[in-house]
């Protein structure tokens, strides 16, 4: 076997090994979802047993089992939405962190907005009323002042002033 043939064989073997490794690693990624993959779905779900604790942060056996299901479904190639739909079918809408936008659930989204807008309208109305009342009061004052008749000079004071003038001249 010549040196050239040996080199060629080495190169060919290396390429074959690399080719075998690349799809292998891709398959491993698809088959075994990481904890992060599982938690990305789990944080959007709440187990009814442990209220107010998202599934990714819950340590009970029930939640561990649920995370196991998510892992299994992800490894089977299910999408996030498919997994969420499965959990809703099994355990109801209340497992979702964000209630679906349908039926009575719309209240969750609409009521706070309505309260905010209603409050804003009331506040604007109140401010307008206050400003109007204030301007009415000030214009009323001005009008009163304008309409006030000039007082006739006090006779005693005018006599005192006259006397003082005389004295200062004198």
């Amino acid at each position: 076997m010549t040196n050239y043939t040996k080199r060629y064989l080495w190169l060919l073997t290396s390429i074959l090994i690399l080719a075998a490794l690349i799809p292998g690693s891709a398959m491993a990624q698809g088959s075994y979802p990481t904890d992060d993959d599982v938690n990305a779905v789990a944080k959007q779900l709440y187990c009814p047993v442990c209220e107010n604790i998202p599934l990714d942060a819950c340590g009970t056996t029930a939640c561990e089992q649920w995370r196991g299901i998510i892992r299994d479904r992800l490894s089977e190639g299910w999408t996030e939405d498919q997994i969420k739909t499965y959990f809703v079918d099994q355990y109801g809408d209340r497992v979702l962190a964000e209630p679906p936008r349908s039926g009575f659930n719309w209240l969750v989204y609409i009521v706070p907005l309505l309260i905010f807008v209603g409050g804003l309208v009331l506040l604007i109305g109140a401010f307008q009323r206050w400003r109007k009342a204030e301007s009415e009061v000030s214009s009323g004052k001005n009008a009163k002042q304008a309409a006030k008749p000039k007082k006739a000079p006090d006779e005693y004071i005018s006599r005192v002033e006259e006397e003082l003038n005389k004295r200062s001249k004198g």
């Binding site: 089992q65 355990y91 809408d93």
Partner: protein, 170 residues
Amino acid sequence: MKKLLIWGGLVLLLMILGVGLIQSQQGQVGRGEIAPDFELISFSGETYQLSDYRGSVIVVNFWASWCQSCKPEALDLEAAYKFYQPRGDVLFLGVDYVDTEPEALAYLEEFQVTYPNGPDLRTKISQAFRITGVPETYIIDQDGVIVHVRIGPFMSLEEIKSYIDPLLDL
């Protein structure tokens, strides 16, 4: 008109909040009440409609594979089922609450449970009974009235029989 709309909106909002508050304050369905009707599809595929079994005594047990305190009573419930089975007028139904099917089936196999059991799909049954946790058992008489509510596990076969026997004039 504007005022009427504002007041109408406020009353509606208060009504929604009030209904929510009343619902959250309600305890579980109690003694003397008619048991809520439900449909249970067992793990083996049979359908059980509660109202179809008027005339029989019905034992509805809520459990889960992750529930440690459910385990001690599993054997007693199965023993009670076996005891009354020849009569044919006592129905035992196991409602698997917020559980995963593989673990639930493993649990039933471990405790050799043979009476009908099925998942509480969308947690509809547990919500109808307003259960506070598992295990919880409701004993329903021939007229569909709840005669006993057991919060927590039964301690023995004798205890289970002590609630069923009087309904069968035993």
